[in-house]
């Protein structure tokens, strides 16, 4: 039988034969696929960076709006995170019918961002009790080839790192207006947020999804692997070495302590790599700022 036919007809035995020889049967066999982060220098308030992990591609953008903060937290801005899976990202997503996993990933991302304390919502405040930023983070999946959460989180972090908050001022009517370059010199209006132009991320979370099958663990599964085997463990580790999330929802394989330790070690290694990749992507951006 042709290898390709065997692969199509009996995907699981095909994978198991490969795994027995310690080979990962992905088309371009690689231990961890190439990851790139591209940050577009764009006019504020949007900063749309994209991240690419293997073939999974994400595009993230932040939109800022001024809002009145709620009574219970007058000194905080707020954050809305949405993950979109348009039909172009995968043959499994049909037009008109939203993808099943999209709201789940949205929730996962916002849980991680909120619970890890990456962003200090107080930094999004403009005038205590009167005005604050409402940040909408939209992540678009352009190509879904497995490990969606990892790529989505990476693009979200890149977007936050790259976010430039526009200068704003209060005009005579008491409304908050954005002050652009030219206006800045002419107007005598007092600028509200001269210092708070960038978010200071306290720690950056990075995640790694591992797939478990029998005794094998493999990192960063592709969509094909995810469709054949069903147990995934997603470990999120931040730059301070804290465990932000260990997520495993069911699946046919039970995870034991030893396997979990292994996944955490892999995630730590991955976090270090991603930190470098992210720093490299952001560094030219820093130069632009200083101009």
């Amino acid at each position: 039988m042709e290898v390709e036919a065997y692969r199509r007809l009996f995907p699981l035995p095909y994978y198991e034969r490969h795994l027995a020889e310690s080979v990962r049967p992905t088309p371009a066999s690689r231990p961890i696929p190439d990851t790139t982060v591209a940050v577009a220098p764009s006019p504020p308030p949007t900063g749309p960076p994209s991240s690419k992990v293997g073939d999974t591609t994400m595009l993230a953008a932040i939109k800022l709006e001024v809002m009145t903060p709620g009574a219970e937290s007058p000194d905080q801005g707020s954050l809305g995170i949405e993950f979109h899976m348009p039909p172009i990202c995968s043959p499994l997503v049909r037009p008109g019918r939203p993808a099943e996993v999209a709201p789940v990933i949205s929730k996962q991302i916002s849980d991680v961002v909120m619970s890890s304390g990456v962003i200090d919502l107080k930094e999004l405040s403009l005038i205590n009790g009167k005005a604050a930023w409402m940040a909408y983070l939209d992540i678009y999946c352009l190509n879904a080839d497995g490990s969606l959460f990892d790529a989505a989180l990476l693009s979200a972090i890149a977007a936050f790192s790259n976010l430039q908050i526009p200068l704003v001022s209060v005009n005579e009517d008491g409304r908050v207006i954005a002050v652009s370059g030219k206006l800045q010199e002419e107007s005598k209006l007092e600028l509200v947020n001269k210092e708070k132009r960038k978010l200071s991320l306290r720690s950056t979370p990075f995640s790694l999804t591992c797939m478990l099958h029998k005794n094998y663990i493999f990192a960063d599964p592709t969509a094909e692997e995810e469709s054949i085997m069903d147990t995934v463990v997603t470990v999120v580790i931040d730059s301070l070495g804290r465990l932000v999330s260990v997520y495993k929802a069911g699946g046919s394989v039970l995870v034991y302590n030893s396997a979990l330790q292994e996944c955490i070690i892999l995630a730590k290694k991955r976090a270090e790599e991603l930190q470098k990749i992210l720093a490299d992507a952001l560094s030219p951006q820093m130069d632009l700022d200083s101009d």
Binding site: R97, P98, E100, V101, P103, V104, K107, Q108, D111, S115, S116, G117, S203, N215, V233, D238, L240, G241, R242, L243, V244, S245, V246, Y247, K248, A249, G250, G251, S252, L254, V255, Y256, N257, L260, I264
Partner: protein
């Protein structure tokens, strides 16, 4: 080490558990599970013919669905759908574990073939590093991190274990589901696992006992 808990429990103490099955007449199986003031009602319908898709689950529902899928022997009734409907009666913390336990009891009540039972528990990590079990809603908000864990309940069978060599670890040491909120150190997480696992044995015991009690009641009624 000691954390003063509002309701006077010690850190390892669970809230009073209660489980009653067959509470709904129209459903094929139903159960009511309560842990203190967190009360969940679960109903099981099916297996019905045909596969149903196109429902958009929230995160919690997805976790519940995938957890239940992993314990059900779905291949016994191919091309059928079993629906589990969960109604939250009261939420006072540890909602997800409570829902998993209730659904599991309802599946048993409906006679759905299962690989093993699942028992879920929530562990919370206080700022001083101590772990408390089964936190209430007020406690959940105060805690640094929370882990919701589901463990398998080992089957008690007389069938000899198949090829014991490759499976060295007992099944109850595995984790079916793990969901965490908040940042913690790796050591704290494993501490939570250890404590959760120890407590899950107690919940397992309770679950089995309540099943056995009700089975003997049912059979006495039938006679």
């Amino acid at each position: 080490m000691e954390v003063d808990r509002l309701d006077g429990r010690n850190p390892n103490q669970l809230r009073p558990l209660a489980c009653s099955r067959n509470v709904l007449h129209r459903a094929h199986g139903s159960a009511r599970w309560s842990q203190g003031d967190t009360i969940v009602l679960a109903a099981v319908y099916g297996p019905k013919a045909g596969t149903r898709k196109g429902e958009n689950p929230e995160k919690c529902e997805m976790i519940l669905k995938r957890t239940l899928q992993s314990i059900c022997l779905l291949s016994i009734h191919p091309n059928t759908t079993t629906s589990v409907i969960v109604q939250v009666v009261g939420d006072d913390g540890a909602l997800l574990p409570c829902a998993i336990n209730a659904s599991c009891a309802a599946l048993v009540d409906a006679g759905i073939p299962l690989k093993h039972l699942a028992v879920a528990i929530s562990c919370a990590l206080a700022e001083n590093g101590s772990v408390i079990l089964d936190p209430t809603l007020v406690e959940e908000q105060k805690m640094l991190a929370i882990a919701h864990l589901a463990f398998p309940n080992p089957p008690l069978s007389v069938i000899p274990k198949s090829s014991a060599s490759d499976e060295v670890q007992p099944i109850e040491h595995g984790i079916i589901t793990s969901v965490t909120h908040g940042a913690m150190s790796v050591r704290d997480y494993f501490n939570c696992l250890e404590r959760g696992r120890a407590a899950s044995a107690k919940v397992s015991e309770f679950l089995r006992r309540s099943f056995q009690l009700q089975v003997s009641e049912d059979s006495s009624k039938a006679i």
